[in-house]
Each structure stands twice: as C-alpha cells, then as structure tokens.
C-alpha cells in the first residue's frame, strides 16, 4: 500500500507555478529520492505535503487518509515529519532538550521523553554531547541533531531536505549509513539531495522535478539513462 500519495498537486505563487500537477505514490518501507535543479520546486513540494503551504490544487493522502490542508503539527502527530534544508536547532536549549521536544509529541511524561531522546541521540551518535547547548554545535552535528529530533517523534514517514548539504565526505557517509539504518527499522523516507552518487545509492525509486513539473520517475538505473533527465539536470557524466 502507498503510505503517501500525491494527486495532481499544484502550488502557485502569484502567476508562478512552483509545483504543477505533480502526482506520485510512495510505497511503505522504501526510500524515494527527489531530485532536480535548483528552483525545481522540491522544497516547495515538501512544504505542501507537510502543511506549511496550502496547496493551490490537488490532493495529498497519508496512509489512505486525505491530509490536504492539515497544519504541520497535525501532520506530525499522524506520523509524518520533515527536516529543514537550513537546519533549525532550538539554539538556546540543550541537545537533549531539543530531542525531548520531538519526543514529547508522543508522551506527556518528561522522564519518558528523556529516555526516548537519549535513545535517538545514541542512534545518531550525539549522546556524548547531550548536555551541550545546541548553539555550539558545528554543522555536521546540527544535521544529526535534526535527524535525532525527528526520529524522536516516532515517525512512519520521514521527509529529509538535503541532510547532506554542507557536509564533508566522511560526515555524508555517516548520514548515508543512518538513512539506511532507518530504512531497516521500517520507516519510509523521501530524500531531497544534490549529491547524485549518494542519492543513486540509497534510493529505491527517484522522482525528478524540473520547473515545478514531474519530469520522470523510476529506479536509479532508469533515471540515469533517461535522456530528458540527463539534458535537464544530470549532464553527460552520469549517463
């Protein structure tokens, strides 16, 4: 069954179509890559799915239920949560408190939330820094903090917006392993990424956006051999 389904989703800003008639489905347990040139509408699509923008047209279904027009907090409680391209740590709070805010989505008890949070910090490898104030973390650890925080909300579907952006190769590799681990735990993921090697490696299927429209969809192998995608985005070296 499709955990997430988009039917003819469009988003207009004035006369500009940031997303135009985008339809696709996301199978449970899979990793879906979302790629495309800058300004193709990838983050806008995330904003529409998670309720930050009202969609101009079309419908979105999560676990078979319509979620079009729901606020982000409701969407999160239903089990879908996103990370931010530009990370958003709660800077004056400690690393542990940041993750606890996520965990409190599922519990009212601080001690239970603390346990969930520590567990997720161990998963991303940030547990030694649990007492640090988030403001002091370097970018690589901020990205991990963001991952731990969304995992603490016990999601069924994760939307990851460029979690490898700005990371060095070693850090990127850690995130890749983390994404694959999360998949092992049965959590479905949709990943926006510009690192083509990474996205080809982790994705089960890929959707390509260009100028707001869906240009292609398929397995990584199909995508790299699609002439339209090569012309619009990938360039010849990947072909």
């Amino acid at each position: 069954m499709a955990i997430l389904e988009l039917r003819h989703v469009s988003k207009f800003f004035g006369g500009l179509a940031a997303n135009s008639d985008v339809s696709f489905a996301l199978e449970e347990g899979m990793i879906k890559g979302l790629i495309g040139p800058n300004g193709a509408g990838k983050t806008t699509l995330f904003n529409c799915i998670t309720g930050y923008y009202p969609t101009s047209r079309g419908e979105i279904f999560f676990k078979g239920n319509p979620i079009t027009g729901l606020q982000p907090d409701r969407v999160c409680r239903l089990g879908m949560v996103r990370t931010w391209q530009k990370v958003r740590p709660l800077v004056k709070m400690s690393v542990l408190d940041n993750v606890m805010v996520g965990a409190l989505c599922r519990t009212n008890s601080l001690s239970a939330a603390r346990e969930i949070a520590m567990e997720q910090l161990r998963v991303v490898g940030l547990d030694p820094k649990s007492g640090f104030i988030a403001e002091g973390l370097p970018i690589g650890e901020r990205k991990k903090l963001e991952m731990a925080r969304v995992l603490a909300t016990k999601p069924e579907l994760l939307l990851l917006d460029e979690v490898m952006g700005g990371l060095n190769p070693a850090e990127s590799e850690e995130i890749i392993q983390l994404i694959l681990d999360i998949k092992q735990r049965g959590i479905t993921q949709m990943v926006i990424e510009h690192d083509m090697k990474a996205i080809m490696r982790i994705s089960d299927r890929i959707v390509v956006l260009n100028s707001g429209e869906k240009l292609a969809e398929g397995t990584p192998a199909e995508i790299v051999s699609n002439q339209e995608v090569v012309d619009a985005y990938l360039g010849e070296s990947h072909a």
């Binding site: 998670t50 930050y52 606020q71 982000p72 907090d73 999160c76 409680r77 949560v81 996103r82 931010w84 958003r88 740590p89 709660l90 800077v91 004056k92 709070m93 408190d97 606890m100 805010v101 996520g102 409190l104 989505c105 009212n108 008890s109 601080l110 001690s111 239970a112 939330a113 925080r149 969304v150 909300t153």
Partner: protein, 360 residues
C-alpha cells in the same frame, strides 16, 4: 503516577545549599514586618513583590514563549477595574473580585490572543500595544461604567472575615505585605512548574523557532494562547492587588502604555526567560525608582559632605533632581540595556563564567 515521578526528579535536582538559602530568604521575608516597623519599608517591599508578580507573569509569555507583548496593561487594568468596580458598585469583597478579574482577564487574553497571534515578531508587538490602547480608550469613554478619566476611588475595603471572625480590616500595610508575598511566591512556583513540564518545553521551543516547533507536533495557537492565559491571569491579580492597595485607579495609570513598558522592563533589566530574572529586575528597579523619586541622591551627596546644602549646586540639585527622576531612570535603563543585553542576571552569570575560565 508520572506527575509524582516528575516531582521527585525536580526535588532531587535541588541542591541542599540552594534549599537552605531559599528557606533562609523565606523566613526572613516572613519575619520582616515583625522586626521592621517602618510603614515606608513595608511599602517598598510591597512594591517589590508587586513588581515580581508583574514581571514573572510577563516572563511566562515573553521570556519562555518568546511573544513580546507590550500590552500587558490590558490585563493589569482588567484585573484592577473588575475588582474595583465589583467592590465599589456591587460591594463584592476584593478576595472574590480578584478571581472575577482573573477570569475576565483570561477571557480578554483569549480574544486578544486569537487575533494577535496570527502575527509574528514586531507585528505582534504592535498589535499587543493596539489592544491595550483600545481598552484604555474604552475605559476613558464608558463613563457610566468606569467613571472615565476621573477614575474610581475605593471608599472602604470590606474586612476579611472567616465566618464572623474578622481576620483583618486592612488598616495597616502588614496584611498587604503578606498577601503580596504569597502572590509573588505563587507565581514563582507556577513558573517553576511550567519550566519543568511539557508545557515549558513547548513554550521554549516556540520561542526558539516557531516553524521548527510547528513541524515537531506543537500546536502553535493553542500553546501561545495557553501561555498568554496564564500570564494574563497573574497580571490581573497584580492589577487587583494594586487597585485595593493604592485605593484609586484611572485609565492613565493602570491601562497606560507606561504600565505595559514598566512590566516589560522588569524582565529586560533582570534577565528574560529565567526564574530569577524578574526578581532581580524588581530588586533593581523598585528601589532605584523610589530613591530617585524621593531625591535620595541629593540627600546622599549632602550628607556625605560632597555638596553643601547652601551652595548654588546643592540648592539646584535639591530643587530639580526629584523632578528629573523619570529622566534619570530612563537614562539608567538605556545604559543597562546597552551594556547588559542579557539583563543584570545574565551579566553577573557571564562575569562568573569568565572568572572561572580565567582561573582554570
């Protein structure tokens, strides 16, 4: 069950030394009116407690939830007017009136909140000012209800009775002292509880980043309004207390923007978003304002022999410094904000940390 275990965690985190200091302060505050008899000293202490209640109430919304309301006079005035009107026109004792005031303030907060919380940052600030101004102008112009610009003068406060036993007739300042002390301790306790609860985590998450908080399952409207309701209820208690204590209210004192700014300043000077911030702010601002008002500076200079009372300078200071107290107060506030952007508490904390670092 979980409430009990949370409470245990909080209790365990309290250091014995801190507890001892707290108990010592508590006992000396309780004993203060028994030892010191000067009504003026009682008056200053009451003003400090009142300031703590006002500052701490604002702190919950402004400090923890990050919504800088510069319209808290709306709730202060609502409490003051509700209590005073019930007392003066309906003979309702203020001990009931103040709860009616708090309920009215909460209702007012939810109306104002549902409109103003659509806005963020500076736009929210402006909207909160506008809401308070609407209330002030309404109070000025509904003369048959509020007696307009003439204000309301309390002619007699019904004595506090249990059955037929008169507990106090409020002729001295001492009962006011204890009432204000209990209110101040209550709001500090409420802030502590909020800070160590899910609510406090959600408030702070909203303060740090609204969009991130929203994405993590936090209902922004609900929690901002909750925060405002708690804040408004206690601000209105401060207003009720003020009305009964001073015995006179009018729109230009209890509903003015001066009042709103005063409330914010307590926190900014002390330190925003900390439990001790409003306490420190009150301890700095109230004595400072009183000293300037009663011209203690000139008196100090004269009695220290630096300036002669008969000299032109001494005469000038004696004549004019008291009138300039608002100006000096303003300058001092600007200096504190410029050089201690995190308030007095943050400034001291940073200094201690810097010293520890240079020692290690």
């Amino acid at each position: 069950m979980s409430m009990i275990s949370e409470a245990l965690v909080i209790l365990r985190s309290i250091k014995p030394a801190g507890l001892l200091v707290f108990l010592a302060v508590l006992i000396s505050l309780a004993a203060f009116p028994l030892v010191v008899e000067s009504p003026y000293a009682h008056h200053i202490m009451i003003l400090i407690f009142l300031s703590v209640i006002m500052g701490q109430s604002w702190n919950i919304l402004g400090g923890y939830t990050g919504q800088y309301s510069v319209g808290h006079a709306a709730y202060f005035g609502t409490g003051a007017y509700t209590t005073m009107m019930l007392m003066q026109y309906q003979q309702v004792p203020p001990w009931f009136g103040m709860f009616a005031g708090a309920a009215t303030a909460i209702a007012m907060a939810l109306i104002i909140g549902s409109i103003c919380f659509r806005l963020r940052g500076p736009y929210f600030v402006l909207a909160s000012i506008a809401a308070a101004e609407i209330l002030r102008l309404s109070a000025l112009n509904t003369k048959e209800l509020t007696n307009g610009a003439e204000g309301i003068l309390a002619t007699d406060i019904p004595p506090l009775k249990i059955g037929s036993l008169v507990v106090t007739d409020f002729l001295t300042k001492v009962p006011f002292y204890y009432t204000a002390l209990v209110f101040a301790l209550l709001i500090i306790a409420v802030t502590c509880i909020v800070q160590h609860s899910k609510l406090g985590f959600y408030f702070q998450a909203i303060r740090e980043d609204q969009d991130a908080a929203h994405s993590l399952g936090i209902n922004l409207n609900l929690h901002k309004n909750l925060s405002l309701a708690i804040s408004a209820a206690f601000t209105s208690l401060a207003g009720s207390f003020y009305a009964v204590y001073i015995g006179f209210i009018d729109p230009t004192t209890v509903l003015s923007m001066d009042m709103s700014v005063q409330i914010v300043l307590i926190c900014i000077i002390g330190g925003i978003g900390t439990i001790m911030g409003p306490v420190v702010g009150s301890l700095v601002l109230v004595p400072l304002s009183e000293a300037l008002r009663s011209n203690l500076i000139t008196q100090g200079l004269i009695s220290a022999g630096l300036v002669s009372e008969e000299s032109p300078v001494g005469a000038f200071l004696k004549e004019n410094l008291a009138h300039a107290h608002v100006l000096i107060y303003g300058i001092l506030v600007v200096v504190v904000i410029l050089y201690m952007p995190e308030g007095v508490l943050g400034f001291v904390r940073n200094m201690v940390r810097a010293r520890e670092r240079s020692n290690s």
